[in-house]
């Protein structure tokens, strides 16, 4: 047992850190793009506060297209773009690019569905008081939907974690990479199992944080 950890422990620890780095960075960039996109989708839709059918249709189509490309294919498809941005097309930093491209439209949809849950009556109340659209977005839509936004963020992080492991198959770095290298090519089933356990534990922890935070910030009970 101790031999096992002496042999693989350092590598697994590094893999975990790499994975967390990829996931964290991709989530941050994903939200930098996805959050505004989700807000625009919400407010420009037919029932939104400033309906813009043309804008909505265009964004809607783009999001749908990106959402329907399987991650592994997207990863390979945009390799030239990744190379331009990061300088190389493999490794942890390079994996962040396809992760963001894949996560942003997913996040936009999640944000849209959260914001659409906000009671129309409350929005009407804000309008009746002379609130601007900006005020409605920042003081009504987002705060009122925050529980749902956080719960969805936990789902987003879980999904990105899964994708990051997939990126391992093409040299993406992190735990996924280790699982492929050792579990698949070298028949080290033990190492593969440990990476799976670490991934499961990570998802559990992230979910737990998300749910706990959401519960604490929810005053609707």
């Amino acid at each position: 047992m101790s031999d096992f950890f002496n042999q693989f422990g350092g590598m697994l620890w590094q893999g975990t850190l790499d994975t967390l780095y990829m996931v964290l960075l991709s989530t941050i960039f994903g939200y930098i793009i996805g959050l505004p996109l989700g807000i625009i989708l919400t407010i420009t839709s037919k029932e939104g506060i400033t309906p813009r059918p043309a804008v909505y249709r265009i964004l809607d189509v783009i999001v749908n297209i990106l959402r329907s490309i399987p991650f592994l294919i997207l990863l390979i498809m945009i390799m030239p773009m990744t190379k331009v941005i990061v300088g190389k097309s493999y490794g942890t930093a390079a994996t962040v690019v396809p992760l963001v491209v894949s996560a942003a439209p997913f996040i936009a949809r999640e944000v849209e569905s959260s914001l659409k849950e906000v009671d129309k009556g409350v929005i009407e109340m804000a309008q009746s008081m002379g609130a601007s659209n900006g005020t409605i977005i920042w003081k009504v839509l987002i705060p009122e939907a925050r529980t749902s936004l956080i719960v969805n963020a936990a789902i987003v992080v879980g999904t990105i974690l899964g994708y990051s492991a997939m990126a391992g198959t093409v040299g993406g770095g992190g735990l996924g990479d280790i699982a492929i290298q050792y579990g698949y090519y070298r028949y080290e089933t033990g190492v593969m199992m440990i990476t799976v356990v670490i991934l499961v534990v990570l998802v559990q922890i992230l979910q737990g944080i998300g749910m706990g935070l959401a519960g604490r910030l929810d005053h609707r009970k």
């Binding site: 009407e124 009746s128 002379g130 009122e144 910030l217 929810d218 609707r220």
Partner: protein, 339 residues
């Protein structure tokens, strides 16, 4: 005096999957400053659309809406937002921000107005005191009862010092006791602060308790308007009659067999024993189906529903006699069962 609200020839239609619905059909009316003006109608009559056309939450297709001297339909979005700050609105489902405390809910319009946080909180506390909820300042809406939630909504509206309060079925989700206390609060606000109140409701009891004037809405048309007493004692349209009668006990309808009339007594006519006199004078009995005294804004008005004898001639004479005595007499034709 210039009315605070003047609507002229306003129309609004909606296109739905089932076709076009006319929600406002050439509506014209005026509301005086300081009035409590009721707009009553059954569901689907266009009440909510009408009130939303006053603050442009809905844009009328045509016609004019002048509020406090400003033509609302001509304002830019920015100017419109300024004007809206002078007209608060309260709703059936309260529409409180569930993730904010009571105090922060009341601060909301003050934040929109750009007031500093400390100043806003001070003002909000004053408003909560006015509605009797200052001890709930730190609670969240989910912890309050329906009546308390509506009080918070009223405090929130008061925070922006409105000239007008629009009440859209504000008591419809509340029990009768709570309804009464909310209406008393609105009445107090009207009396002490001189705020004009427009009340949308489907309940005659609400109109009766606090309104000075009332308009009856049916299928997008304003079919009748006047003082509450006028409409109550001499309803001219079926729509008004239905609303008044249906606020009495539901079982009467089944008791109508022969020709029936509804009579109302004001101040002058309450003392004379009219029913006794009718029976003696015509030598035929009348059947009292229903009798009640209602409080119309502090004035007692009696009403009765009488079933008349079979003879058509006697019936006509009786009706003529009752009218002559200064009573409000109203035939309940819609309810007579001709077999």
């Amino acid at each position: 005096m210039e009315p605070i609200i003047r609507v002229r020839d306003m129309c609004k239609t909606f296109t739905t999957d089932e076709g076009t619905v006319t929600a406002a059909d050439h509506i014209s009316f005026e509301i005086e400053k300081g009035d409590i003006y009721g707009i009553i109608g059954l569901s689907g009559a266009g009440k909510s659309t009408l009130v939303r056309c006053l603050n442009m939450l809905e844009r009328p297709d045509s016609g004019s809406v002048v509020v406090d001297g400003k033509e609302m339909t001509a304002l830019s979005f920015r100017k419109l937002r300024e004007e809206r700050k002078g007209m608060g609105m309260i709703f059936q489902h309260f529409n409180l921000l569930m993730q904010r405390t009571v105090l922060d809910n009341v601060c909301f319009p003050l934040e929109i107005a750009g007031m500093s946080k400390a100043e806003a909180r001070k003002k909000a506390m004053e408003c909560l005191e006015t509605v009797g909820l200052s001890e709930k300042a730190r609670a969240y809406p989910a912890q309050l009862s329906g009546g308390q939630k509506q009080r918070v909504a009223i405090a929130r509206v008061l925070a922006s010092n409105p000239k007008i309060i629009l009440s859209d079925e504000a008591t419809s989700a509340l029990d009768p006791q709570t309804t009464k206390s909310i209406l008393e609060l609105l009445q107090k606000i009207n009396r002490e602060m001189g705020i004009t109140i427009v009340i949308i409701t489907h309940e005659m009891a609400v109109i009766q308790q606090i309104c000075h004037h009332v308009a009856v809405l049916e299928k997008g048309k304003m079919v009748e308007s006047g003082t509450v007493e006028e409409i109550f004692r001499h309803p001219k349209t079926d729509a008004a009659r239905k609303l008044i009668i249906s606020s009495g006990p539901q079982t009467i309808r089944e008791m109508y067999g022969r020709r029936a009339v509804r009579i109302t007594f004001g101040k002058q006519s309450s003392y004379e024993p009219v029913i006794g006199n009718v029976t003696i004078k015509f030598g035929a009995p009348v059947n009292i189906l229903y009798a009640n005294t209602r409080d119309l804004g502090g004035m007692a008005v009696g009403e009765m529903i009488l079933q008349l004898p079979d003879d058509k001639k006697v019936q006509d004479n009786m009706i003529a006699y009752l009218k002559e005595r200064g009573l409000g007499v109203d035939e309940l034709e819609g309810y007579v069962n001709h077999e």
